[in-house]
């Protein structure tokens, strides 16, 4: 039996999100998968070209409507539900975008959702983390049931470019509801690498003690070409903005190098960094749980160590 997989593109109107390429990589591990990407946008042309260039993609569909200028789940879900008929699987990234829209699609299709797929064991069998990643469950979806799922992006390498899939424009199948309206977004613009895709990440915790102390991490990050992250405690305390939070309820990341500075290592934080290739912990408490997962641990005062490292680079 072959699989026909529909992936919902995540984008900002201009650029395709990395999560979509990760979904393609996940879908490609389903045997004999034919992969279609659907782009809902006010003007889909630029994003559709990027989607069509992903290796393994057979076809790109575009649904254009002014309401899709912003990613509103209530507007996107009915379009996707109307298009989903012929597909065996409907996938989206496990980003805040995918987490918002995919369950709404699943409910409209009257089916369950498999959240945070980390491995595909068969067309209807998936592994996913539960209990903040402290257990891994294998779940099976009945063979005759459409699979709706979100893809845990840290578990997959992004599909490469180099494909040339055809792009087809489809008429918006439904008139979206008007009860939900986009007002504004405050995205911090930064020249630093994106937290979710950076090869190196420096994260700070409560022990930093202030937003000013976080500047020290930004300086080190700039020298390392790294992104900056933060623990929940640091974000709660106002030392760093929410989009930097790493962990169960923040971002799940998989950099080559993760440096945890003054982070004790609550299980909710550790679940966000499990897939990092090398974890470095700097903490003055030798008993901090972060040392249980660290490949390299350094016990000491971060206010002395961080500037020393910066000097040594």
């Amino acid at each position: 039996m072959s699989a026909s997989i529909l992936i919902i593109a995540e984008h900002d109107g201009a650029a395709l999100g990395i999560g979509t390429a990760k979904c393609v990589a996940c879908a490609a591990t389903v045997p004999q998968a034919e992969i279609t990407i659907v782009v809902c946008a006010s003007d889909a042309s630029a994003v559709a070209r990027q989607a069509a260039a992903l290796q393994g993609v057979s076809r790109v569909l575009t649904v254009e409507h002014p309401i899709h200028a912003h990613p509103l789940a209530a507007a996107i879900a009915p379009q996707i539900a109307a298009l989903a008929g012929p597909y065996t699987h409907v996938l989206g990234p496990s980003s805040t975008f995918g987490k918002d829209v995919m369950p709404r699609i699943a409910a409209l299709l009257d089916t369950a959702q498999v959240s945070d797929i980390m491995a595909v064991e068969g067309p209807h069998r998936f592994r996913r983390p539960i209990y903040a990643g402290n257990a891994i469950v294998t779940v099976a979806v009945p063979e005759d049931t459409k699979v709706v799922g979100t893809v845990r992006t840290a578990s997959f390498h992004a599909a490469a470019a180099g494909g040339t899939a055809p792009i087809e424009k489809v008429d918006a199948p439904v008139e979206p509801p008007q009860h939900t309206r986009f007002v504004s977004t405050s995205a911090a613009t930064s020249d630093r690498p994106d937290l979710q895709t950076a090869a190196r990440v420096i994260s700070g915790g409560r022990a930093l003690g202030s937003a000013e102390a976080f500047q020290m991490l930004y300086q080190l990050a700039d020298k390392l070409g790294a992104a900056v992250g933060a623990s929940r405690a640091a974000v709660d305390a106002g030392y760093a903005p929410n989009e930097l939070q790493v962990g169960q309820t923040g971002k799940i990341i998989a950099p080559d190098l993760y440096v945890a500075v003054g982070i004790s290592g609550a299980i909710q934080h550790l679940t966000g960094i499990k897939d990092a290739r090398t974890i470095v912990a700097i903490n003055k408490d030798p008993e901090a749980p972060i040392f249980e997962v660290a490949d390299l641990g350094l016990v000491g005062d971060l206010f002395e160590i961080v500037p020393q490292i910066e000097q040594l680079l």
Partner: protein, 252 residues
């Protein structure tokens, strides 16, 4: 009509518990483990109570679905300040879609102007129920809320999204799922626990609501995650930088 808020809560393994997996891989050990209100749901309830305290709601109803033991978590919510509780009895855990169908039945009964839920439960980490409920109810959803402002017939919700903060305006009634930084739930004081024992707690069967639970997903097995290799300690910054260089982890 009375201005009501419905808050959905789930009984989960307390967030401080280190879970154990059953040796036969059939699930997680729940016997004798401390259970609590899902922390995100507590934040949802706190928000409902604050809205009521500002005079923008008249009644806060807390609802859960689960075995008889859930009453203890509902009592906690009543002690926090909910006006009454509804307990839908189900011995088996319900999948999010079934949970959403049950909540929809309660909504049809209670006619709330706002439904507040946690953005996810910390046991299954599904993060689906609110969005599914909004879809079935054909109403707006605002997920991952860190701020909720109510106006006549509308709500402005600030959402924590990957890029930063997003503000949506939704017509009411709507479903809002809440994130960690929305508020800090209050502590329950002893007199309130005593008072909560007299507050109404209604038990309903699934049959009486006309919902037949469906299980779409089968659990094949539950296993422990792969453990990381034990690392090494270095003595100082120089040794750390040297080790990182050796591993080829520093930019050239």
């Amino acid at each position: 009509m009375m201005k009501r808020i419905v808050v959905g809560i789930k009984r989960v393994v307390d967030y401080n518990v280190r879970i154990r997996i059953k040796p036969d891989g059939s699930g997680v050990v729940l016997d004798g483990v401390k259970m609590s209100v899902n922390p995100f749901d507590e934040i949802a309830l706190e928000e409902a109570l604050r809205i009521k305290e500002r005079g923008l709601a008249e009644e806060v109803i807390v609802a859960t679905i689960g075995p008889p033991d859930c009453q203890s978590q509902l009592r906690t919510c009543l002690a926090m300040g909910a006006d009454r509780a509804v307990h839908v009895l189900s011995d088996a855990p319900t999948e999010p879609l079934t949970t959403a169908h049950i909540l929809l039945k309660l909504i049809e009964r209670e006619q709330p102007f706002l439904v507040l839920l946690g953005k996810q439960a910390i046991d299954e980490d599904n993060g689906q129920t609110g969005q599914m409920l909004a879809a079935l109810w054909q109403r707006p959803q605002a997920t991952f809320a860190s701020k909720i402002e109510l106006a006549e017939g509308k709500a402005q919700v600030t959402r924590e999204v990957d890029a930063g903060l997003e503000i949506l305006e939704v017509d009411l009634p709507a479903v809002v799922t809440v994130d960690l930084r929305l508020n800090e739930p209050r502590y329950v004081k002893l007199p309130e626990i005593m008072k909560a024992k007299k507050k109404p707690l209604e038990s309903l069967s699934l049959e009486s609501l006309g919902v037949t639970p469906r299980a779409h997903l089968t659990t094949v097995r539950v296993a422990a995650p792969p453990q990381r290799q034990k690392g090494i300690r270095v003595d100082n910054a120089a040794a750390l930088v040297a080790a990182l260089k050796e591993k080829g982890l520093l930019p050239s």
